[in-house]
Amino acid sequence: MASGGADPGDVSVSMSDVILKLEHLRVEYRSRELGQETKQALNGLTLAVHRGEVFGFLGPNGAGKTTTMNVLLGFVPATAGDAWIFDVNVRQPIARQRIGYLPEMTYYYKFLTAEETLRFYAKIFRIPKGEVDSRIEAVLKLVELHHARNRPIKTYSKGMQQRVGLAQALINNPDLLILDEPTSGLDPLGRMKVREIIQRLRNEGKTVFFSSHELGEVETVCDRVAILHQGELKAEGRVNELVRHYKLDNLEQVFLKIIGYNELNDPSNLAGRAA
């Protein structure tokens, strides 16, 4: 695995308390069909995310990004290995008290309004009644939905629904945000807004762990990245250090090299295989 190791003198790394930790994580999915082999979604993934970091989690489709998030959120049990959030094992529901999660392309209760949705989640986080209104007001303003707060979610556009998702992820003022492809399906303006929110959260000292296929966006926003391929961690480190390590121009080229795209499409390799 290539590692663009961080500079020990760097300020962001000196605040090195680990918020999210994965150790030798392995996840296997058993097929229900007879004769089908078990599919290994993650193979010995070890990773640590530090306080205040914006951490990009990259990989092609099927690399194991969503599976990792599913383990972190307790949706899928790990076959082996362990994961911790704030030093609490993710098997404990209380591990999710201080996190905010935005799933990829999600939908909310369509018969509820944005305000009712946020009130519901606030109740689950047991936010004191006196604070609920001010929090809802703040997150709705942040995602620019205060004008549509009393409309049922079924009347919202896709971008607005994604922003409801961000608002519910922020309702408990989380210390760690887990975002699964937050800009997926959004128009350029929507993407820019989500990016701005992530940057603002970083400025407020929040830790953000997010997966994305938008490498340009990752390059702009992330402090560190990890590249996953076929369930294994292939590279981890700061973007500029990875670029330097692989002697390439940008993160996209690094990504393509790591997943073996360049070798597959190299004319000399193709000629060799044809021969």
């Binding site: 599913n70 949706f75 799933p103 939908y107 009712e116 689950i124 986080f125 047991r126 942040l142």
Partner: protein
């Protein structure tokens, strides 16, 4: 973009639930989830359609004078109660059967379970929500029946109506729990609804005769049928329609409470099965 910053509480609100007793926190989650289910039923058209249909059929039947029969109100009550039973079963089964599949299909289960909520709390919340919603619907149906029958008969057996409605409501508790367990086993809400409906109607029509059937059988069929007879939740025990139709007196309180206890045990059994199944289910 707005330059709003999220408010931070002086008393570390993010850790509020950590400080709260686990039990209290659990019930807060359960009631929050139940509240969403009740809102859903109130905002859907199913209940209103069934209520309007029941009311219309009963009122039309009530307006017809058949052979100047003085006791027509009894038939009217019988028809209305039959419609209430059918409607309540449809509301309970369809509402409960779609809860978990809809959560998975719309992916609302993901942000919900990403919060400090256990799967058991989700299930119990869904059950309570469906059961309470059925209670609200049932309240309206029985109120309509009571007012309609009282206006014709000029007798107001409020206690009998209350006992019958509560028995009916507890019976729906068993049906909701059964349907919820079914929604984990059967992926499609339609197949779950159909199977649960057939099972419920089957129990209501046949269960009381099963012991008589068993007596006429040879072994081992007799033991098997008796086993099923005792294992089945006897939904027909909660059918107090005759009590209302003939204006009989109230049910003795001991028997009434025993029936409620019987319903609670069966609902808890089905919920336990549902929780055990749901806990083992991978959600991805």
């Amino acid at each position: 973009m707005n330059s709003t910053t999220l408010p931070t509480s002086p008393v570390a609100p993010r850790d509020f639930a950590l400080a709260a007793p686990a039990g209290a926190s659990g019930w807060t989650n359960v009631w929050a989830i139940a509240g969403v289910v009740i809102k859903e039923l109130c905002r859907r058209k199913d209940f209103y359609v069934l209520f309007v249909l029941t009311a219309l059929i009963t009122l039309v039947m009530g307006s017809v004078d058949i052979f100047s029969e003085g006791g027509i109100v009894r038939y009217l009550k019988e028809i209305c109660l039959f419609l209430i039973w059918i409607s309540s079963l449809v509301i309970a089964i369809t509402t409960t059967a779609r809860q978990l599949p809809a959560e998975r299909e719309n992916r609302t289960l993901f942000p919900l379970l990403a919060k400090p909520v256990t799967r058991n709390q989700v299930l119990i919340g869904k059950f309570l929500g469906c059961w309470m919603a059925c209670g609200l619907a049932l309240g309206m149906f029985y109120l309509f029946l009571g007012v309609m029958a009282g206006a014709r008969e000029h007798v107001w057996p409020v206690l009998g109506y209350a006992q019958a409605a509560v028995l009916h409501w507890f019976m729906l508790g068993i049906v909701c729990a059964m349907s919820l367990a079914g929604s984990i086993v059967f992926a499609a809400p339609s197949s779950n609804s159909t199977i649960t409906f057939v099972v419920c109607v089957g129990i209501l029509l046949l269960a009381r005769r099963m012991n008589e059937v068993a007596l006429g059988l040879s072994e081992p069929a007799q033991t098997i049928v008796y086993g099923i007879y005792f294992a089945l939740p006897h939904l027909e025990l909660f059918d107090a329609r005759d009590l209302l139709v003939h204006n009989w007196g109230a049910i003795p309180w001991g028997i009434w409470a025993g029936a409620l206890g019987y319903a609670a045990v069966h609902a808890a059994l089905f919920l336990g099965i549902a929780c055990a199944l749901f806990r083992r289910k991978a959600i991805n």
